[in-house]
Subunit: 702 residues, 2 copies
């Protein structure tokens, strides 16, 4: 696979600089150029700091330089915070100085239109020619919490910088990056790194992911995405995070028309079809959040969990029966296994509370008002005797009770120590002390009981995704050259067959006699179709004859079909007719490929006929992918029951279908931009063990 | 319509008693019987309080009575908190005393099994015979915040009872009721009444809704439901709330198998098919929440809004472009209209921030760091020049800023005063002072920006629901007596036709000659089917002949079909054959009725063939309903495009379909339990203006 310039090592001077120059450094706290110095004087950054200011010999108590070229030692990172008109000169000075990475705060580039885009190209060229990595322009910079590099003008990162955590956050929006830090103050959501990418002149979200995938300080990656200009690079970066088993949580905005209109007025990024983003996220096991709260909740859970739960079972303990039911509903809806409690566990609870619900959820009932020990022992037994890898507990308002709150801080800390691998998620009304204690103990704490369940389900899904075979599998075949123009059905079927996709038995014939001979050899009844690279919709011009039951009928059909085609399209090149055995039975599906300018070849799969037309029951994947991924893709159809054998019909040959989808994805990936689109419609899936067949195909080269 | 004993006036002694006796009153704070007195000594209850205790002459400083019969004056409400063994005697004493309502805390009744259920029946009989309303047994009681009736043993409602609000909450779970009060402490979520119904020996959720529908202190109704024993009563109560334009928000637990198993082990309530609850909620405009947070969020918004937004347009103002896009996505997905800003508004914003996104969402950008006034003026212009009835604003971390927080408390209060009808929803990071100020000003405040949107969408939906015609419409037809046993197709079609449901043109014939004559009269081709009350699946036994194109063929078919039926089912009564004109074209649908023991007749509608079998693409309503409701029902199908004219076909006659569904619902409602089930399959909907026809029907009487 290509490297897409995902050169994480070249980003080290950006994230781990030994020396930083600030061009446009100022003593005036109202100017952006003052802020990185203010931050870094107290942030614990141990490298050299060089203010650059043509007028002041000292800036914020540090010796300053008129020009970066005057700095005595090497400069790893230069932060440029000067008016737009001075940017080009500053960039050139950095290049001459041998700076290795630049952060450019200044705005007024691609985001304002054509003139700005042109200026941005010039800046990129300077950086590229000098081998400097560039973050920005129009970006808020970055914060590395592990080494005190606070290379941002956002005021939120001032004195009292939060201690480092295990979450790396990458945001295309600077405002969102600042917000993410402020949200984190309320809970144990601690970052290793916050990177904002602005206009993405050079460094983009994918570069950041690739770096974080290798960063030993980062265990979880959070992404805020508005658009993407290079889908292959992004998916390659996600593959690296997946290979390192680092959960990725993403907010991708611009889902609907209203949202997309807003993105286009907000940044210069291409938004891309939302369905393709969805396909990529599914393919790489990325959790896509719909709300900010969900985004931070799942990130928090992934960073805080001792490990991903080893299986799908969840034990639910509750002090309110109804809330337990709500949690069980949510767990089942999210694919968790609310497995019945073991007899030992059920007996143990019943021995304390005879009328307790013990099956799971386990409802300790109001009896705990008289004896809190019932709840302690139930929690302990659920882990010890229940054997659940995940436990969700709803404990009402205990987390804010002056008496019971402190008691349960200890109970949960003890449970954590005695069951170090288990996932303990607690939901309750609570106060900041209770939150801090449970976070410190290594539990997950939530306000909302269903969010505890949602978080556990997300962690289980990460584990499933990491355990599955990687979506990019094996070597690609060599790309067979496509014809220069449109190609006829016979050519398309032949190419697909060579690519490993089964097609119907057929022959191309050039006379009525040959047609009759072919029909006899293939076995009646047959179908006969005109063959022409210039006729895409054969049925519309009477170019198809179905269900021919005698050789005489075949002979007649050859002449009629040929005559109709010649009459309807006098200019079309006719290459004879195609005779194929009629296929009966099976389920009609559609396989397709579309080349997306951002994401490359995208494979579509759907059920044929009314399903695709009325329900848009289709699903997508980025090419290439393997057969296991193809099976997951098939499993996403709403009309899956049709393939599984609804209405007393036999189940369809899903293995053959998956093999064809995977082969098609390899074909498409090998062709790359040479293939504009491809449709196999219908692709008939026969009953299990009988295979599947392409009955028609259209290939459109670029 | 029947009254279902929804006698709200008879509940006044329960909710507004002038005198309360506590049987089992105690001075020992460890006993449940002590708690109502502790509460009511400080709650502001102005009526008479009578402790009843056989041993103590004074309880908690109040003169006590050995028996309720010794109380000098009348007793409106008696709270019974005695051990199970003494309950029966206490109930009888209350009956003799002429008590008008009883709250029974004691547990150990229907929730523990058959013996308890028997005891519960005895208690109910005592209450019924004496004309006393009964709340419980096994219930936590009620709290009326408007008059200080704190008739509960839940400790949370002690001294410092929250001031009254406009939300009435009814919960089948006592624990949930207590929790709802505790959650309310964190935000402006103030209750008029909290009612917990426990085992629902007499008073159930429906009674509570009917009372709150008329209660002038209550504007919004929140429901926590685990199950329902009388669906018609519940829907009738919801209809009353709807008629009074009071928004109803509901959590109904037990959605999935896991949840239902838990409910059954938790309470004695029937859970009922979740799809039917969903149908009822849609029918009556009830908002069904999936999480506790959503439940309280929507309740809060409904109580706090100055009025329901007059149309679907929403203006979005944001300090972070990305969050604005997220909000726009959410708004569009929830059916709001993110209408583009007026030119005047766009120009106004652009005059302040040339590169701002102004279309809607309106992104004021980081420029506000330099000039906060930009945000103030944008908010004001969005309401004044934008004309949006709803405004959602995301203002970052302003709500916790020591400088800007207080400033925006004033800004929003001012906006509220100058636009008193507008809905102002604000999302930001905030502190308790900011929350209190915005709540007091009459704004809606949220942490999560998408939740502001969700709340606005919910309010818009309430308005839509209230403006629609009521779901229960018109007089029911008289119920035509159904046959005693199964009935044949001809009988079923005739009954449907009399009920106003169009059926295919057909004749019943008793000889081959009659069949040929009928075919000639109806016009060829025809279909011929055996007629027998004993043969439900005619096709399986060769009892159907399709597409008969000559009278000879019809004659032969009569003999063959009759012979095959006689051979396959020698015991079946044969009543000749049915001859009908073949119907071609149109869309096949299925109309059905199922009598549910809890909810009564439920009407089903779905697309025929593979849709219903593979996709379960069906939707339900409680009978009866009118044509507008039928159109909404049709609109819920995923395969709606098929009826709207997918694949180049003409759109189907939705008016005829809706009329048939409404007629079927009236027929089913009139029949009530006499009709076990009914299937019209297929019901063919012809192109617009051409009507629709039942082609086959099976009626199964009870």
């Amino acid at each position: 696979m290509p490297d897409f310039r995902l050169d994480a090592a070249s980003l080290l001077p950006l994230f781990r600089p030994s020396s930083i120059a600030v061009i446009g450094a100022s003593a005036d706290a109202g100017k952006l150029g003052s802020i990185p110095l203010i931050h870094m004087k107290t942030s614990g950054f141990h490298g050299a700091l060089y203010p650059v200011n043509p007028k002041a010999p000292v800036v914020q108590g540090l010796p300053a330089f008129r020009n970066i070229l005057d700095v005595p030692g090497p400069v790893d990172l230069a932060i440029i915070s000067v008016p737009e008109a001075q940017v080009m000169a500053a960039m050139r000075d950095c290049a001459r100085k041998g700076v290795r990475a630049v952060i450019l705060f200044t705005s007024g580039f691609a985001e304002i239109g054509a003139a700005g885009a042109q200026a941005q190209e010039e800046i990129k060229a300077i950086a590229r020619d000098a081998g400097m990595r560039l973050l920005g322009p129009n970006c808020m910079g970055l914060i590395n919490f592990t080494n005190g590099v606070v290379a941002t003008f956002h005021l939120a990162f001032g004195p009292g910088l939060a201690p480092p955590g295990r979450i790396g956050l990458i945001s295309q929006s600077g405002a969102f990056g600042g917000l993410a830090y402020q949200v984190a103050q309320d809970r144990k959501l601690a970052y290793s790194l916050i990177l904002t990418t602005g206009n993405e002149g050079d460094i983009d979200v994918a570069d950041g992911i690739a770096y974080l995938a290798e960063d030993p300080e980062t265990a979880v990656i959070l992404l805020y995405i508005e658009g993407c200009r290079d889908g292959a690079k992004l998916s390659h970066a996600l593959a690296r995070a997946r290979a390192r088993r680092k959960p990725v949580v993403c907010i991708k905005v611009g889902r609907t028309e209203a949202g997309i209109a807003a993105v286009q007025s907000h940044t210069a990024a291409l938004t891309g079809a939302d369905e393709i983003f969805d396909a990529m996220f599914r393919q790489y096991g990325v959790y896509r959040a719909s709300t900010m709260e969900e985004f931070f909740d799942i990130g928090y859970a992934a960073a805080q969990a001792p490990e991903l739960p080893r299986d799908d079972r969840i034990g639910i303990v509750t002090v309110s029966g109804g809330v337990g039911v709500l949690m069980a509903d949510t767990a089942a809806a999210r694919g968790l296994d609310v497995a019945p409690a073991s007899p030992k566990l059920q007996d143990g609870v019943r021995a304390m509370v005879p009328f307790a619900a013990t099956r799971n959820p386990i409802d300790v009932t109001g009896q705990i008002v008289g004896d809190m020990g019932i709840l302690d022992r139930t929690l302990e037994m659920t882990l010890a005797d229940g054997g659940y890898p995940s436990l969700a507990a709803f404990i009402g308002s205990i987390g804010r009770s002056p008496v019971n709150g402190p008691r349960y801080m200890e109970v949960f800390a003890r449970l954590r120590r005695s069951h170090p691998r288990a996932l303990l998620a607690v939901a309750c009304l609570h106060n900041p002390e209770f939150r801090a204690a449970l976070d410190a103990a290594g539990c997950l704490l939530f306000d909302e009981p269903t969010h505890a369940i949602r978080a556990i389900a997300a962690l289980v899904n990460f584990r499933r995704g990491f355990d599955a075979p990687p979506p990019l599998s094996g070597e690609l075949p060599a790309a067979e050259p496509l014809p220069a123009g449109p190609c006829d059905e016979a050519t398309a079927l032949a190419m697909l067959q060579r690519a490993g996709i089964p097609v119907m038995t057929h022959r191309v014939v050039h006379s009525a006699a040959e047609a009759a001979e072919a029909a006899a050899a293939l076995g009646l009844p047959v179908v006969l179709k005109i063959v022409s690279p210039d006729i895409a919709h054969k049925t519309d011009i009477g170019g198809v004859a179905l269900d021919l039951t005698s050789t005489d009928a075949v002979r007649r059909a050859f002449d009629e079909v040929t005559a109709r085609a010649a009459a309807a399209r006098p200019e079309a090149r006719l290459s004879g007719c195609l005779v194929a055995a009629m296929v009966t039975g099976g389920v009609e599906t559609i396989l397709g490929v579309q080349y997306d300018p951002v994401f490359g070849p995208v494979v579509m799969f759907g059920l044929g006929g009314v399903f695709v037309e009325a329900l848009k029951d289709v699903t997508f994947r980025l090419a290439p992918f393997g057969e296991e991924e193809a099976l997951r893709m098939i499993g996403e159809l709403r009309g899956l029951a049709v393939l599984r054998g609804a209405r007393g019909r036999p189940p369809a040959d899903l293995e053959a279908l998956a093999a064809a989808l995977a082969a098609l994805s390899r074909f498409a990936a090998a062709q790359g931009p040479a293939l504009r689109s491809l449709d196999i419609n219908p692709f008939v899936v026969l009953p299990q063990g009988k295979g599947a067949l392409a009955l028609d195909a259209v290939i459109v080269p670029a």
